[in-house]
């Protein structure tokens, strides 16, 4: 086994995903512990200019594969390229973000390489030279400590959990060809419709304002959108309003939606089902607004107001306006 840690520095539309920085920071720390190097991999179209930045976060070698065929991130193409690079570098530990792409790549590459794979990890450390990770399980009701028995060990990391540290690496940029990453003729991407430009990825947001059935109608979400835009926050949704067609599934927070760990989660008109809690209970600070004093959400809230959200939220918006001014 070689002596490097491998990081998939995932980028989307020419910007690194937040978790790419988090993964790189973790890799740098582990590499320093092991006396190893950190190899980062960028794949995409017109991504060459992104490479330099990774030096600041600890990358020693930065592979860049830049090709028009990679524009829309077809998972199979990415998988072939990454698997090839990982084999060549003989890395012991591979880190990816627990993103839609990462979740697709990790098990496939893991099976190809006979690796140990652990997904959606919230921490990773070396214990007697073996990698152990923490994972949230059973609808966030428990935390499992998992040891990875084989090498390579492939981890996907949950966004917004691990710290980002600036620590310089050697920063050697290596241009690589797509090479063996020929399209798999059996799976062909026919079309891609991209989400609205500039829409904040809810998993990366530091502040989220979430709403549920208590909003009573799709139009009323404008209340939350106003508050959110003042704070640069993303707007989240409970399952029932997504099922009702008021909000997109992208914005759903919960067991069958996204798991988020923002700094601040303001939750309005959501009673706090177990499934919703699973998606946000690791938020640093939780503020709940609900008219039912017995709503389960108050049990995990750090701050809460028992009241009518239609009265409280506008007043909160006013206060925030004053602070910003």
């Amino acid at each position: 086994m070689g002596n490097s840690l491998f990081v998939f520095a995932e980028q989307k539309e020419g910007k690194f995903k937040k978790v790419a920085y988090e993964a790189l920071s973790l890799a740098r720390n582990l590499a320093d512990e092991l006396g190893s190097e950190v190899e980062a991999s960028i794949i995409g179209n017109q991504v060459r200019s992104l490479a330099e930045e990774l030096k600041d976060y600890g990358a020693d070698r930065i592979n860049v594969v830049d090709d028009p065929s990679l524009k829309n991130c077809p998972p199979d193409l990415y998988k072939n390229i990454l698997a090839q690079q990982i084999k060549e570098s003989e890395s012991r530990i591979v880190l990816l973000g627990s993103t839609a792409l990462g979740a697709d790549l990790a098990p496939k590459i893991g099976a190809e390489l006979g690796a140990s794979v652990a997904t959606d990890c919230i921490s990773a450390e070396l214990q007697e030279n073996r990698l152990t990770v923490l994972r949230s399980v059973y609808v966030s009701k428990a935390i499992a400590r998992v040891s990875l028995e084989n090498e390579p060990a492939i981890l996907t990391l949950r966004t917004n959990v691990l710290p980002i540290n600036k620590k310089e690496g050697k920063g050697e940029i290596i241009k690589k060809e797509p090479g063996d990453g020929l399209p798999d003729p059996k799976v062909v991407m026919k079309e891609i419709i991209k989400s609205s430009q500039g829409k904040k990825d809810i998993e990366e947001a530091d502040i989220i304002v979430a709403g549920g059935r208590g909003l009573k109608s799709q139009e009323n979400f404008a209340l939350l959108e106003e508050l959110a835009s003042l704070m640069g926050a993303a707007v989240g949704a409970s399952r029932s309003v997504v099922d009702a067609g008021w909000r997109s599934h992208d914005d759903q927070v919960g067991q069958t939606g996204k798991t988020v760990s923002p700094n601040l989660y303001i939750v309005c008109g959501i009673s706090g089902s177990i499934q919703h809690l699973a998606g946000m209970s690791s938020s640093k600070y939780i503020v709940a607004i609900n008219k039912d004093p017995d709503a389960p959400i108050f049990k995990i809230a750090d701050y809460g107001i028992v009241g009518d959200l239609f009265e409280v939220v506008p007043r909160l918006t006013e206060e925030v306006k004053k602070i910003i001014a």
């Binding site: 008219k291 039912d292 004093p293 017995d294």
Partner: protein
């Protein structure tokens, strides 16, 4: 509280409850407003085999009885008493086949009901013959291999949507009550038509129409037993179906109580939730106690019927009488507890109050039920001497 259901009954109840909560509750108000028949719900119930819980396995049902139908009716009625009627009134319309039908009639008609492919209805009431059924005017005249029916039935639940109708008509007016006969009439028999859909106070998603017979040709094989058995068929039918009306009322009442309790926990006045006021607590306690008593009575009567006990007309009437009166009291109180909000259509309890009222009226008004009970008591006392 555990009502000693079998595993199968538990599964029936839980599935009905799940469908009621997930599929019926979200659309109940819309169907009520529009007065439309919820065929999409009937399809879901059919696919889950809930339409045939009371029909013998031999005809494609689940092999349960009155109690199983009551369980389903109660759960569906918690979400909407009107939508529940599509199944419950089908029970009323098809029980005569189960209780009084020949083997040929059962084999012909029960499978489609069990599968939910067809619905049924019971047609006895007329404009001038409500409680006084014996004064009905619809006639059935034998002509060769057919009976020719003429007349109009009024306020028939499921009329126009159902395919199968049990109809009571006079074959011999001179014989009075013993001159009535019962027939199975199919929707597409020549001479059968329907009046406009009635615009009702409640159970608005249930279709109520006139059933019009104009020289309607009914094959003689569709007669129940012999001529003159009409009222026997009808009375036997009502004895079996009254707990079902009770179950509908019970479901409506339980739904209303649940809403009232939830609201009282949230509504604050004078610095406290209204659930902390003794006046409200006493109301809720009385509502809950009456509901539990109604439940116990209905379940017991239904089980007694299914176990083959004879002579349950009095208790069957009691279960319908008591539960429907309870439903009316509970829903009125639920509106009161919700106060101004209770009066608004935006909140669900005013619909429940409108729905509950009919349970005191149809399938024998509560005044007729009291007659039945009193007459039974008097008869029992006479025989004890």
């Amino acid at each position: 509280m555990d009502y000693f259901l079998t595993d199968e009954q538990r599964e029936i109840r839980d599935l009905a409850r799940q469908i009621a909560q997930e599929k019926i509750a979200p659309v109940a108000m819309e169907y009520d407003e529009k007065g439309e028949f919820a065929w999409e719900i009937v399809e879901i119930l059919a696919k889950s085999d809930l339409c045939g819980v009371y029909i013998d396995e031999k005809y494609g049902g689940l092999g349960g009885g009155v109690f199983d139908l009551c369980l389903v009716t109660e759960e569906l009625s918690k979400a909407c008493g009107g939508i529940a009627l599509s199944i419950a009134a089908t029970g009323l319309g098809i029980f005569p086949v189960i209780l009084s039908g020949s083997e040929e009639q059962k084999e012909k008609y029960l499978p489609d009901i069990a599968s939910g492919k067809k619905l049924a209805a019971f047609a006895i009431t007329e404009a001038d013959a409500g409680s006084d059924v014996a004064s009905m005017q619809t006639t059935a005249k034998k002509e060769g291999d057919y009976y020719i029916l003429n007349g109009t039935k009024q306020w028939i639940t499921n009329a126009g949507e159902a395919e199968i109708y049990t109809v009571i008509a006079m074959t011999d007016k001179s014989k009075g009550p013993r001159g009535a006969s019962a027939f199975i009439v199919e929707k597409d028999f020549p001479g059968l038509s329907f009046g406009k859909k009635e615009n009702k106070m409640g159970i608005r998603s249930s279709a109520t129409r006139e059933v019009i017979f104009e020289d309607c040709k009914v094959p003689k094989e569709n007669l129940f037993g012999g001529e003159g058995r009409g009222f026997m068929v009808a009375m036997k039918n009502f004895d079996h179906s009254r707990p079902g009306v009770g179950a509908q009322a019970l479901g409506i009442a339980q739904g209303a109580l649940d809403k009232a309790v939830q609201y009282s926990k949230e509504r604050k006045q004078f610095g406290k939730t209204i659930s902390s006021f003794q006046g409200i607590q006493f109301m809720l306690a009385d509502m809950a106690t009456e509901i539990e008593a109604a439940r116990a009575l209905i379940y017991f009567v239904a089980k007694a019927i299914d176990s083959g006990q004879k002579g349950f007309s009095k208790e069957s009437a009691m279960s319908k009488l008591f539960a429907s009166d309870v439903a009316m009291r509970v829903t009125v109180d639920a509106v009161q507890i919700l106060g101004g909000y209770g009066y608004m259509k935006e909140y669900p309890v005013e619909k429940m109050m409108r729905d509950a009222k009919v349970t005191q009226i149809y399938e024998g008004t509560n005044q007729i039920q009291r007659n039945i009970i009193a007459q039974a008591l008097i008869k029992e006392a006479a025989s004890k001497k």
